[in-house]
């Protein structure tokens, strides 16, 4: 059944299209959906794809490269420099400790020390792809544990270069035969170590300089041509060129891409590059996860299920313990530690590279490699499942408590207002309410913030507000008003759906990220919608007009009128956009909606029918 490229493409795409929505429906992450799709179409279930899964794996690693490029784009060089302590400290400690314990573990299983060391290297590395994708999906990149995870992963990306460099030293086979087999052909392989280091340093320098003085001018030139697809082409070219350069230098392409991203983070093309590469990245990562799923060799498992099981559990436990301790040493809060622990406990995709390289070097035999590959793939597959268990079972039990025990002597007053999300938006809402003497019950998912708020005397519940239990303990049954001010529109909408269904009596006041979220909310029957992009932008525009000499009071009136008309058109256009699945075609939809909006403005004409207090119309000429 396998063989034709077309057929395989269909198998992968269909697998994704079918499995991911199912996973999402059950509230699981897309990553798990892809992994399951991979298992499903893999050689051991449906058999749509066969051994070539591993080639696809290599190809799909571009997804990881692109992801790091995109992450780099979001980190300005200054911030990167500020992270150096966590990267070296947490990352270094995690890798060294994990390798140490894993060496001991595999030596106990009576493996040769070289084999144990090689496997330990692979085990020490976590999956950048899975972890970062999950963090992004859940919007947790900016939490303390998100940043810690990222730091550790970045360190691993750096250390893997040295691991790949060190492997040949463990090999008994002669170097020449190895170089022939080695798939990533590094020019520098046979150079002395000093020169290699020099080459690595200089290639990073090339990357930084080229990024600043070559790529940006080139992009400007291309942007000037006005041919859109050229920009897409150059974005792809950029990532591929970085990959090639890094492979030539024997560096990790992911790391190179990350540095490239950081270099371009301050350029004006940041957002253009982001939006261009995003879909490629997502698709390739999806492919990558499916390839991981497909590469799980169930034959190996069936031959030795006990051993594999022991290894998987042993390795995950070992990594988890190390991570937990590292988290503790670096003063991560008690509830953030399980998140870090579970998040990074898998063996990552670098293991595929390291293990197969070690096999080529004859350090590992085929049985050992196959077994470890299976363990790696299973541990990756288990990650999202463990995360779900962690979120639903472990986390609620400890860490920052969901609610706080109140001293017996205070009378429990039920706060009539519940405020969900105390970020930039919600905090302003809460502060004003408090200034008015109204103490809202606050729900927030950032434990550091929760602790601060508790110190300040707020009544705060910690956790995921889209869980019914938490809402119940926050007293939603007695609440009159719920303010939904979560930053992430999807979470906000999930919260609204839940409250509307379970507690229809609660009045909802909802923050809407933008017009399109507002459409969705309106179509869900939410009446009180507060678009964060409306009032402020109109205020800015009227200040501009005021600077140009227009009178402030007239502007003030016209701004109110503009907002009112915009609210009306919002309600009118929301009805037209009523199509539940439409939001998938977001950009197209948004452009169409924008067109309608501008069209309405054009029809209304410029503001000139303002005759209020205009005595000119009464003038006798």
């Amino acid at each position: 059944m396998t063989g034709s490229i077309l057929f395989e493409a269909i198998a992968f795409l269909a697998g994704a299209v079918i499995c991911v929505p199912i996973a999402k429906r059950f509230g699981l992450s897309a990553v798990l959906g892809y992994l399951l799709a991979g298992i499903l179409i893999g050689p051991f279930l449906l058999g749509f794809v066969g051994e070539e899964g591993e080639d696809i794996l290599h190809f799909a690693e571009f997804g990881v490269v692109m992801m790091l490029f995109l992450i780099g784009l979001e980190i300005e060089p200054k911030n990167f420099w500020n992270m150096r302590r966590t990267i070296l400290g947490m990352g270094g400690l995690q890798v060294v400790a994990t390798m140490g314990f894993s060496m001991a573990f595999f030596s106990l299983l009576s493996y040769d020390w070289k084999v144990s060391l090689t496997i330990s290297m692979a085990v020490a590395l976590s999956s950048t792809a899975i972890v970062l994708q999950t963090l992004k999906e859940k919007g947790l990149m900016n939490t303390t544990f998100g940043a810690s995870s990222f730091s550790i992963l970045l360190f691993q990306d750096i250390i893997v270069i040295f691991m790949l460099g060190a492997l040949p030293l463990l090999s008994t086979a002669s170097h020449t035969t190895v170089a022939d087999d080695h798939s990533s052909t590094s020019l520098l392989e046979n150079l002395p170590l000093g020169l290699q280091t020099l080459a690595i340093v200089s290639s990073v320098a090339i990357l930084v300089l080229a990024g600043r003085y070559l790529v940006v001018p080139m992009l400007r030139l291309i942007a000037r041509t006005g041919v859109r697809e050229l920009l897409i082409a150059s974005a792809l070219l950029l990532v591929l060129a970085i990959t090639l350069l890094m492979e030539l230098a024997g560096l990790s392409p992911a790391l190179g891409a990350f540095i490239g991203g950081v270099v371009l983070a301050t350029s004006e093309f940041k957002h253009e590059l982001e939006s261009t590469l995003e879909p490629f990245k997502d698709l390739l990562l999806g492919l990558f996860f499916m390839a991981v799923g497909a590469s799980i060799n169930f034959l190996v498992i069936s031959e030795n299920p006990g051993m594999i099981g022991t290894l998987v559990i042993g390795i995950i436990l070992l990594k988890a313990i190390v991570l937990f301790v590292v988290g503790a040493i670096f003063k991560l809060k008690l509830d953030q530690r399980p998140l870090l622990t579970v998040g990074l406990a898998q063996v990552g995709e670098f293991a595929f590279v390291l293990l197969s390289f070690a096999f080529q070097l004859h350090i590992l035999n085929r049985v050992q490699m196959d077994m470890m590959l299976v363990v790696t793939a299973i541990s990756m597959t288990l990650t999202p499942i463990l995360a779900v268990l962690n979120e639903r079972i472990i986390l609620p039990r400890f860490g920052t408590r969901e609610s706080e025990e109140r001293p017996m002597d205070t009378i429990e007053t039920t706060n009539k207002v519940i405020l969900v999300g105390f970020g930039h938006f919600g905090s302003t809402v809460g502060r004003f309410l408090r200034a008015y003497g109204v103490e809202a019950t606050i729900l927030d998912s950032d434990s550091n913030r929760v602790d601060l708020l508790r110190k300040m005397g707020f009544k705060v519940f910690y956790g995921d507000a889209t869980r019914l239990n938490l809402l119940k303990s926050a007293g939603i049954a007695e609440a009159d008003i719920l303010i939904a001010a979560i930053d992430n529109p999807d979470s906000n909408i999930r919260l609204i759906k839940l409250v509307k269904k379970e507690y229809p009596h609660v009045k909802l006041m909802v923050r809407a990220k933008n017009r399109y979220v507002a459409y969705e909310l309106l179509n869900m029957g939410v009446e009180n919608i507060y678009r964060e992009t409306l009032d402020t932008s109109v205020k800015l525009a009227s200040d501009v007009l005021s600077e140009m000499g227009f009178r402030k009071y007239t502007l003030h009136r016209q701004a109110q009128k503009f907002i009112q008309t915009d609210e009306e058109s919002l309600r009118r256009l929301a009805k037209q956009s009523r199509n539940e699945e439409d939001y998938i075609f977001k950009t197209r939809e948004e452009i169409a909606a924008q067109e309608k909006l501008l069209e309405e403005d054009r029809k209304r004409g410029i503001i000139e029918d303002d005759h209020l207090w205009d005595s000119e119309q009464m003038r006798v000429l």
Binding site: R551, K552, Y553, T554, S615, M618
Partner: protein, 201 residues
């Protein structure tokens, strides 16, 4: 030399040729603070302590506004309500404005002949301005005879120039603390009773 505070209140200043003409020659005069209320407080959120400081720094307060529905524009009324506080502007120890002068300068669309017992509006401008007059008096201010530019719909550019010059003259007199009754050919509303004489009786 006196210092003059012009409290100007016009919701559509940009559309008023009369008031533009009136304002243009006085707003930048030395000794004059031109305070454009609708520009300063488009949202009606008046900074009370700032306003009180301004008043304390000046000797003469001019209320300059168009005459809408026999009264001042709403922001002007808001200003009176908020700034002239009990215990500061009036009431026991409310003597911050004691002895200062208050002049009202208004523009009306209707001409002088509609503002009299035979005209459409029956009452004179002064009768309509009684609340302002009494407000100033309650604050211990001397309420000067109001200056009214009337029938603005009929005014020619030359007329506007004349009124503008009269405004300048009024301001000059006030700056030098001279009596406005010495200004000739100026449209003051002169039927304000002389309360200093009344009080003496």
């Amino acid at each position: 030399m006196n210092k003059i505070l012009i409290l100007f209140a016009h919701p559509r200043f940009e559309q008023s040729r009369t008031n533009k003409a009136l304002v243009q020659n006085v707003r930048h005069k030395k000794g004059v603070t031109f305070h454009d209320l609708y520009e300063q407080y488009p949202d009606f959120h008046i900074d009370i302590s700032y306003e009180k400081n301004l008043l304390e720094e000046h000797d003469v307060m001019i209320w300059h506004h168009p005459f809408y529905w026999y009264s001042c524009p709403p922001l002007m009324k808001q200003w009176i309500d908020l700034v002239l506080e009990y215990g500061w502007a009036y009431g026991p120890e409310g003597n911050a404005l004691q002895g200062k002068k208050c002049l009202q300068i208004i523009t009306t669309g209707g001409s002088r002949k509609v503002y009299c017992s035979e005209g459409r509006n029956i009452y004179t401008i002064n009768e309509f301005l009684r609340p302002f007059e009494q407000t100033a008096r309650l604050c211990g201010m001397e309420y000067l005879t109001p200056f009214a530019v009337m029938g603005t719909h009929y005014l020619k550019t030359a007329d506007l120039e004349t009124f503008s010059q009269q405004y300048v003259k009024i301001v000059d007199f006030l700056l030098e603390d001279k009596s406005l009754s010495d200004i000739k050919n100026c449209v003051f509303q002169t039927d304000i009773p002389d309360y200093t004489k009344l009080a003496a009786k």
